[in-house]
Symmetry: C2
């Protein structure tokens, strides 16, 4: 029995009509990504997610991962599911064939990742972390490191982990204390404690390749004195097999609000002779490599927000269709399925509209990642990379905040039943809550957006995004009918609010960074809503084109236009207030003395 | 060790400067409620809450209540705490002296209830349910019933429970199936199953007085065929002592997302000979009595939203002052306490502003309850009762939604640490989540507000509220300075949005109730924000008067004005968008076919 069905129809629509699958498939190396092949892959992935991963979600939550004497046992069924995941080639989808991957575009991997996250957030964190490790090594690893680690990480035979956080160093990596001392053979001895290490220890794979940020002796203070190390659980023999156990241990795992099946480890490096670590890139240049890994992870965590929202929506929808309570206000006799009641309908529309906007935004970003990586023209690559860099904090921050909101709405649709753990709706609410925190809280994303992605470049990319949105608005203006007029009116307000904030932040940043940052999270929300609304507007236009061409399912296309209108009226409408809070409200954020709280 | 301190300064300010404690103390029977006496009571209550209730909150969550063979054992310490609660006279604060109560106004009981909820939400549910039972019996019970049950319920020697929900009858009481058959002696035999019964079984008190909605043979279908029964766990002997066990049993308790210490029972009545029940009022007139009980409980659940928010705020604030991460953007060297970082400050301001607005709104409502009950002039009583009736769904709906939001912000301030259960922040988030559901979901409150409280009376009370708000706006206009100008601008927008929605709902309701209800929850949110903003505006004016008179703590008064401005700029600013969503957005809520979800 599975209660998750992959939303293939919407995924294919987004890939083809919004994210430009045809353009991506023309990129060097992506030629196999035809619509037919992609649909087959996603169908298969949906089946796997529904049949193998989804049934372990609730049981995995109840059982949790268990720590005992340094070993972690994942919940029943996880080992077998991971074996099938690796065997099915799912881990290697988006990686280069040079290391055993399938060379598929990020655009195709993105809906696949969404499915795994929907089906089983805790499970899917394991490949999520491996992906970060692969991306870091692909870009920054030496040839020998790539040869040693990539084939195993790409297949999934080994998994990866990210070791940044320490008790005193969370958002502030400058405070990292873990030490790495160079040995005569060029390797390092790593000593220190890392916390909150997702899948830092587990029983799913033969080896765990830890990516560890540490300081070498004499390194400068702060983030520019961090170096990036590979520290494998088992040292690797010359023939590539696993050798001696490295000097690292999982001291405990955390007892958490959610994602119980995903072990969150306290890792201790070098309690004896020091853990053997291998420098990636240069000493003191770890931050940039960390960011490669981190950006991959941030995008994937954004997909978690989307994934958990989709799952919560499917569960709430099924309940709303089946639960009979109270009469239909339109007068039909007898208790009605609660989906007929206006507020339940509003909740479901709000869930559906956010999900479709998130999916479109994530896939459009993924397509730009593919172009930024593979396009023959350097200027085009740079242009797309700037777009990606701007959107990653938005995808991470906005989609995860929406994920929490949608999971909460899912409980609300269930009423009292939603508060009972057996129902399962509460798990999504608990699981979703971590996504706005790890890989950088929403505030960290917002600071990145406002500081690095906007102020540092004088707002250039943000203005380019606004320009693209205005082009969509011009297309809306050409459409007849109330729906498009309503969408256009709210979208235009949204662009206006976004642009006004961009100009204000650009203007004020140098003189008063605190004021700009006081509105950073509201600005991220504004950017998320406007960019999401933009994609919904594009979706409505595409749906209209299909309707006019008599192409595609007309029910789907009409629903898309209605959903875009709902998004405009119920979400885009918030943008003027966000603008006012950002531009006029900064003062009252910072005015109160610390002693008056 | 306690990590909860009652916010006495703000409570006394609200009671005296906003809720008219002096006016309430002039009501017949309230003469003892002088500021000095009230402060003493609240200080003592704060001590009790901090020292006795708060330390059991986290341990109670971990341990939970345990069901075994029909008996429920509450977590360690709960029995002793309840004994002290009763012994201290806390249960009887607001009840009539005729039954052993202390005759204190609801206005004084309200901050006391807030403290218990802050200190221990699970514990405080027990007296919350007893309060509902007392209020129902005070108004609708026979003299004999009052004599038998009230002294014990008032002291807390016995507790009460509310038995409405059945598996097929949640929000829809029309579907209740529990049967009650009249016996020769005038008592009834009750048979049926009730679910989600808070403190339906426990070990804190000698007897549990269940208030049960059931149908008599031949009763009309729907809610007008419901009768209201007293069904005690132990039958009561002629001398008032507990006699034979009644034929009712707790079949199990639920495994829930939160409030683990509060047992949520499945109750089975009449598995053998039928449970002995005693009719309150007339047959088929149970709904009105249920509403007396329910309104008391709804107000108290609104206070739970406030209470859990205050606790979450105190915890987050302590962490924000102590946790050092990243530099202060103003340039001071070394890692700063995170309260200096703009987004943490914004989160804390948002929590603080909501809490102060909720507290003020709840206390102003409580004062009106006192006047509505005790004022010598009938017209004044009626006027105040209409105000209370209008505000109860707002207090319940808005304060609980805010409670969830504030508890979530509390986790966010903690970052990764907030997701770890040992920290305690996650418990508030889990506990808070039930408050928007039980005693009527937010949608049920909103339907009550839009249907019964607005449309049914043609918007009269809503218009009266708007008139009172305009009077406050006129006072704001007389004040000099930027703060008051900013508050006034946003408040005026808020009143305008509120009034526009009132007129629209009043106009459209008869022709298209679905459209009105599609915006009912957004309208409740709008009403909450505007009424909360109104109280914050009044608070700012009162603080300004104190500053001018050189009366009271100037730091407190200035902070109040700043907080009111924050509320205006960051919350009141949302009202135009809510208005648009309500008035223009109803169509897109209902437009999609059920099969397109």
């Amino acid at each position: 029995m599975s209660d998750y069905t992959a939303p293939l129809e919407d995924m294919m629509f987004v890939l083809q009509d919004l994210a430009g699958l045809d353009t991506v498939a023309k990129l060097p190396g992506c030629e196999e990504a035809t619509p037919e092949v992609v649909r087959q892959i996603l169908e298969e992935c949906g089946r796997f997610s529904s049949e193998v991963l989804a049934p372990l979600n609730h049981s995995g939550d109840k059982e949790g991962s268990i720590w005992r004497a340094g070993e972690v046992t994942t919940p029943s069924g996880f080992r077998e599911a991971y074996r099938q995941f690796v065997e099915g080639g799912w881990n290697s989808l988006q990686f280069p064939s040079a290391y055993g991957g399938q060379d598929l575009p990020k655009l195709v991997a993105t809906p696949a990742m969404e499915m795994w996250q929907s089906a089983n957030l805790s499970f899917s964190l394991c490949p999520l972390l491996s992906t970060g490790a692969v991306e870091a090594l692909l870009i920054a690893g030496s040839e020998a490191q790539k040869r040693t680690y990539l084939p195993k990480l790409v297949s999934g035979a080994w998994t990866g982990s990210m070791n940044l956080t320490e008790p005193q160093a969370g958002s502030d990596l400058a405070l990292i204390k873990t030490r790495a001392e160079r040995q005569a053979d060029g390797s390092y001895r790593v000593r220190g404690q890392k916390i909150f290490i997702t899948y830092g220890e587990h029983d799913l794979a033969e080896n765990i390749v830890h990516m560890v940020l540490a300081r070498t002796p004499g390194a400068p203070e702060g983030v520019h004195g961090l170096s990036f190390f590979i520290v494998p659980k088992f040292l690797v023999n010359a023939d590539g097999s696993c050798g001696a156990r490295n000097d690292l241990a999982c001291a405990s795992i955390e007892h958490k609000l959610g994602i119980h099946a995903s072990p969150t480890a306290v890792m201790v490096y070098g309690e004896r002779e020091g853990a053997s670590g291998y420098l990636v890139g240069e000493e003191n240049a770890g931050l940039a490599i960390m960011f490669i890994m981190m950006n991959a992870a941030r995008f994937a965590v954004g997909l978690q927000g989307l994934g958990v929202a989709e799952r919560a929506y499917q569960k709430a929808l099924a309940y709303a269709k089946e639960r009979l309570q109270s009469r239909d206000l339109s007068g039909a006799p007898g208790p009605a399925p609660i989906i007929r009641h206006p507020d339940v309908r509003r909740l479901l529309m709000g869930m559906k509209a956010r999900i479709e906007a998130m999916r479109a935004l994530a896939c459009v970003t993924a397509a730009s990642m593919d172009i930024a990586r593979r396009h023959p023209d350097e200027a085009e690559r740079a242009r797309q990379q700037a777009f990606v860099d701007f959107l990653i904090p938005v995808v991470k921050g906005w989609c995860t905040e929406c994920g929490v909101e949608v999971a909460s709405a899912g409980i609300q649709v269930h009423g009292g039943t939603g508060f009972i753990e057996e129902t399962g709706a509460a798990q999504y609410y608990r699981d979703a809550r971590i996504t706005t925190i790890y890989e950088g809280t929403t505030a960290i994303q917002a600071n990145d957006l406002v500081g690095r992605k906007l102020a540092r470049e004088g707002g250039a990319t943000a203005r380019a995004v606004a320009g693209m949105m205005r082009a969509t608005e011009a297309e809306l203006a050409k459409q007849a009918g109330e729906d498009f007029a309503a969408i256009r009116a709210r979208f235009a307000e949204g662009i206006e609010a976004f642009s006004a904030c961009v100009e204000w932040i650009d203007r004020i940043y140098a003189a008063d960074a605190k004021a700009a940052h006081a509105g950073s999270v509201p600005f991220l929300e504004l950017a998320g809503i406007v960019c999401g609304g933009w994609q919904m507007a594009r979706a409505a236009l595409a749906a209209q084109r299909r309707l006019e061409a008599g192409d595609g399912e007309s029910g789907f296309c009409r629903a898309k236009i209605t959903t875009a209108r709902f998004f405009a009226e119920h979400l885009l409408g918030r943008t003027p207030a966000l603008r006012a809070a950002i531009v006029e409200g900064a003062g009252s954020v910072m005015a109160l003395g610390e002693d008056r709280f």
